[in-house]
C-alpha cells in the first residue's frame, strides 16, 4: 500500500496553473456567473470586450428592490460604477462567461439583507448560475434581529448544497471590521485583497474566517486602481469560472480544494 501522502503529492503535481488556468478552453465558456452588486453598465463592457477576438455574451439581469418581491427589469444601466468594475474583472479573466447582473442597491444605494437573499436565490434557481460574486458586505448590526442573519446564512448554505459557488469579499478593514456574508465561510469562498504581479495568482491564507487572498486591483472605473476586496473577489470568481469551463460539475468543496492546491503549487513570493 502506497503512502497516502504520496498519493496527494502525485495529485498535487498534476494541479498546476498552467494545466488549469492557462488551458485554451479555460475561458469561462458554459459557465453562468451572477454579479450581485450595483448593476452593470452593459454598453461600457460590450464596447471594451467586443473589441477583442472573443466578444462577450449579452449581459442579462434584474434589479431587486425592497418594496417589490418580483425583480424589476434590467435596463443595462449601473446604479453606481462599482458593479461595472466588478463585472469587468470577471470578464477580463473569463471573457466567455454568461454574465447576469443582480442590482441589489438601486438608486437608494442601500442593500437590505432580504433583498440580497432574494437576489442570491433568484440567481441560483432562475438563472441557474454556477458562481455568484458578492463584492459587498453587510455589517453585523444590520442583520438584527438574528432571524435576518439566519436567513442570509441559510441561502448561502442552500447554494453550497446545490453546487453553486458563492464568492464573497471580506471587509476592506478585515479583521478589524467584519462583514457578512464573507464571514459565513466555509460554505462560501471568502476573499481578502493582496496585490499580485499576475491577476491569476491568489493565495490560501486563512485568518479570522477569511480563506483566500486575490488580486485587489481592477481595470475599468474611477477607483479600479485602488486596492480593494471588492476587486479581489471577482478575480477569484474569474479563476473559478475558468476552472469550471473545464469541468462544469465541480462542487464547491471540490473547487475549494482545487483552489487550495493551486495556491500551494503557485505560491507567490511575499510582497
Amino acid at each position: 500500500v502506497s503512502d497516502p501522502a504520496d498519493v496527494f503529492a502525485q495529485m498535487l503535481s498534476l494541479v498546476t496553473p498552467e494545466r488549469l488556468l492557462h488551458d485554451p478552453r479555460a475561458t469561462g465558456e458554459g459557465v453562468s456567473v451572477c454579479v450581485v452588486d450595483s448593476g452593470i453598465e452593459r454598453s461600457a463592457l460590450e464596447a471594451k470586450h467586443n473589441r477583442t477576438d472573443s466578444p462577450i455574451h449579452p449581459i442579462e439581469g434584474a434589479m431587486f428592490a425592497p418594496d417589490s418581491t418580483e425583480p424589476l427589469p434590467y435596463d443595462g444601466r449601473q446604479s453606481s460604477p462599482h458593479g461595472t468594475t466588478v463585472a469587468d474583472i470577471v470578464l477580463s479573466l473569463a471573457p466567455r462567461v454568461r454574465l447576469y447582473s443582480a442590482d441589489v442597491f438601486g438608486p437608494r444605494g442601500t442593500c437590505e439583507p432580504e433583498v440580497l437573499v432574494r437576489a442570491i436565490r433568484w440567481a441560483a434557481d432562475v438563472w441557474k448560475c454556477k458562481v455568484i460574486n458578492l463584492s459587498l458586505g453587510i455589517p453585523e448590526q444590520r442583520l438584527q434581529p438574528p432571524l435576518r442573519r439566519l436567513q442570509l446564512q441559510r441561502v448561502i448554505e442552500e447554494c453550497y448544497h446545490n453546487d453553486v459557488l458563492v464568492i464573497a469579499a471580506a471587509h476592506n478593514d478585515h479583521p478589524l471590521t467584519r462583514s457578512y456574508p464573507a464571514v459565513f465561510a466555509p460554505p462560501l469562498l471568502s476573499v481578502d485583497k493582496r496585490l499580485f504581479p499576475d491577476p491569476l495568482q491568489f493565495t490560501y491564507e486563512p485568518r479570522a474566517q477569511i480563506e483566500f487572498s486575490a488580486h485587489g486591483r481592477g481595470y475599468l472605473g474611477p477607483f479600479a486602481s485602488e486596492p480593494a476586496t471588492s476587486w479581489a473577489a471577482p478575480h477569484l470568481t474569474g479563476i473559478a469560472a475558468r476552472i469550471l469551463s473545464l469541468r462544469p460539475n465541480l462542487k464547491p468543496f471540490e473547487m475549494k480544494t482545487i483552489l487550495y492546491w493551486l495556491s500551494q503549487a503557485n505560491r507567490p513570493e511575499s510582497p
Binding site: K48, D67, G221, A224
Partner: protein, 418 residues
C-alpha cells in the same frame, strides 16, 4: 380687567330698588339655570362688576335714577364685553329708541306696567341664556384657536430654524467646520461635499446636491450620481484616491467642479438608507497619500456620526412640525366652519320684541315710513355695526345722507333742518 370666562354665564342685575334686585337674584339662584348672579344698585357699581367679571347678560332698569340711563350703562358695559346682551326693565317700551337699543344688544323687555312673575322672568332669562351659550362657546373656541395659533406661530420659526426641513441632510455648522478642517489638514486646494438622496415618494425621487468648502450650495451637478466619481466611491466604503481625474470607459463622467483637477481624494459617509454623502478633496500639491486617506477615514466616521445625529434630531423636529401643521390645519378648518355659521349674537331679536318695537314705532305720529321698512333698515344697520363696527355705521350714514342730498337736489326738495 375682566376675568376670563368661566363655564357658567354671568348675569348682572342693575336696579336702584333693593327689593327688585333681591327678588330677581332669588329667582335666578333658585332657578337651576346654572348662571352666576351679580347685582348692582347703580351704574358705577355695575361698571365695577364688569371690570371684575365678564358679564354675559345684563338685566337693566331703564331708569336708574340720578339721571342715569340704562341704555347708556349698557353702552358702557359693552366696552368690557362687546357681546353682552341685555333685558331692559321699563314702563315705557314704546318710547324706546329701537335702533339704538337693538344695536346696543337689548333683546327683551320687562314692562313694569304689566304683571311680571317668576315664571315670566325666568322664561325670558332662560331664552337669552340659551341664545348666549352657543355664541359664548364659539367665542371661547375662537379665543382658544387664536391663542393656539399665536403660540404655534411663535414656535414654528424655531422649529424651522432648528432643522432645515427641506434639505435631505441637515448640514450643521459642525459638519461644515469638519469639512473645512479636513481640507486644511490635508492641504487640499479645494473640495466639494455631495449629498445624494433617494425618496420614492418624492418627484424627482433622486436628488443630488453639492456644497462648496464654504458651505454654499453649488449649481445642481448635471452628471447623475450613478455615473459619477462620488457614486463610484460609495461602493468601496472607504476613502479612495484618484491620481488622475478623468472620465472612465463609459462608466463615469466628470462633474463641472471635477474638470481640470489633477488628483482627488473621495470619502464616503454612509449616513442612512437612501442618503449618501461624499466628501471630495482636490489637488493636493504632490498628491494625496495614505496619511490623507486615514485622516479622511477618521473625519468620515466622525462626520457620519454627526450627520446621523442631525438626521435623528431633524426627524424629531419633523414629527413635531407635522403634528403642529396638522393641528394648525384642524384649527383653521374649525375656524372656517365657525365663520360660515352666522354668530347668534347677530340673530334678530325675538318676534315679541320686534312686535313691541314695531308697535312703538307705529304709534309715532311723526313717522312717514311703514314700520316694517324701518325695522328692516334698523336691523341691517345693527348687523353692520356688529360685524364691522361703528366706522361702518358712520360710512353707511354718510351714504344715506348722500342719497338723500342727491334725491333732494333731483326733486327740488328743500333741505329740512335735522
Amino acid at each position: 380687567m375682566s376675568s376670563g370666562e368661566t363655564s357658567a354665564e354671568t348675569v348682572l342685575i342693575v336696579d336702584d330698588e333693593e327689593p327688585v334686585r333681591k327678588t330677581f337674584r332669588e329667582w335666578l339662584e333658585g332657578s337651576g339655570l346654572g348662571c352666576n348672579v351679580l347685582t348692582a344698585s347703580d351704574a358705577e357699581a355695575a361698571l365695577v362688576q364688569a371690570n371684575r367679571h365678564t358679564i354675559d347678560l345684563a338685566i337693566l332698569d331703564w331708569n336708574l335714577g340720578a339721571g342715569n340711563d340704562g341704555l347708556q350703562l349698557l353702552e358702557d358695559l359693552a366696552v368690557f364685553n362687546p357681546d353682552i346682551v341685555a333685558i331692559m326693565i321699563t314702563g315705557f317700551a314704546h318710547q324706546a329708541t329701537p335702533l339704538d337699543a337693538m344695536r346696543m344688544g337689548v333683546r327683551d323687555y320687562f314692562d313694569k306696567n304689566q304683571h311680571l312673575d317668576r315664571a315670566i322672568f325666568l322664561r325670558a332669562v332662560s331664552r337669552q341664556l340659551d341664545r348666549i351659550r352657543p355664541a359664548r362657546r364659539e367665542r371661547q373656541l375662537h379665543r382658544g384657536l387664536i391663542a393656539f395659533r399665536s403660540a404655534v406661530e411663535k414656535v414654528l420659526p424655531l422649529v424651522r430654524s432648528a432643522a432645515a426641513l427641506n434639505d435631505p441632510v441637515p448640514l450643521s455648522d459642525a459638519v461644515r467646520h469638519l469639512f473645512r478642517f479636513l481640507q486644511q489638514t490635508t492641504a487640499a486646494a479645494d473640495g466639494v461635499l455631495l449629498v445624494h438622496s433617494y425618496d420614492a415618494e418624492r418627484t424627482p425621487a433622486e436628488e443630488l446636491r453639492a456644497y462648496s468648502i464654504a458651505g454654499e450650495e453649488l449649481p445642481a451637478p448635471p452628471v447623475p450620481f450613478s455615473r459619477s466619481i462620488a457614486g463610484g466611491v460609495v461602493g468601496l466604503q472607504q476613502p479612495s484616491i484618484l491620481t488622475e481625474v478623468r472620465a472612465s470607459g463609459g462608466t463615469v463622467e466628470l462633474q463641472p467642479f471635477e474638470q481640470n483637477r489633477r488628483c482627488l481624494l473621495a470619502a464616503p459617509l454612509n449616513v442612512a438608507p437612501g442618503i449618501r454623502v461624499v466628501i471630495e478633496l482636490f489637488d493636493k500639491p504632490g498628491g494625496f497619500g495614505d496619511a490623507d486617506r486615514r485622516l479622511a477615514a477618521a473625519a468620515a466616521d466622525f462626520g457620519t456620526e454627526m450627520l446621523r445625529q442631525a438626521l435623528a434630531e431633524r426627524q424629531t423636529h419633523r414629527v413635531l412640525f407635522d403634528a403642529v401643521e396638522a393641528a394648525l390645519g384642524a384649527g383653521d378648518a374649525v375656524a372656517l366652519a365657525l365663520a360660515s355659521k352666522p354668530a347668534s349674537a347677530e340673530d334678530p331679536p325675538p318676534p315679541t320684541v320686534l312686535d313691541q318695537l314695531k308697535r312703538g314705532l307705529g304709534d309715532n305720529p311723526g313717522s312717514v315710513l311703514e314700520a316694517g321698512a324701518t325695522l328692516r333698515l334698523a336691523e341691517a344697520v345693527r348687523v353692520l355695526a356688529l360685524r364691522h363696527g361703528s366706522k361702518a355705521v358712520e360710512h353707511c350714514t354718510r351714504l344715506v345722507e348722500s342719497v338723500r342730498a342727491l334725491l333732494d337736489e333731483a326733486s327740488g326738495v328743500e333741505e329740512s333742518p335735522s
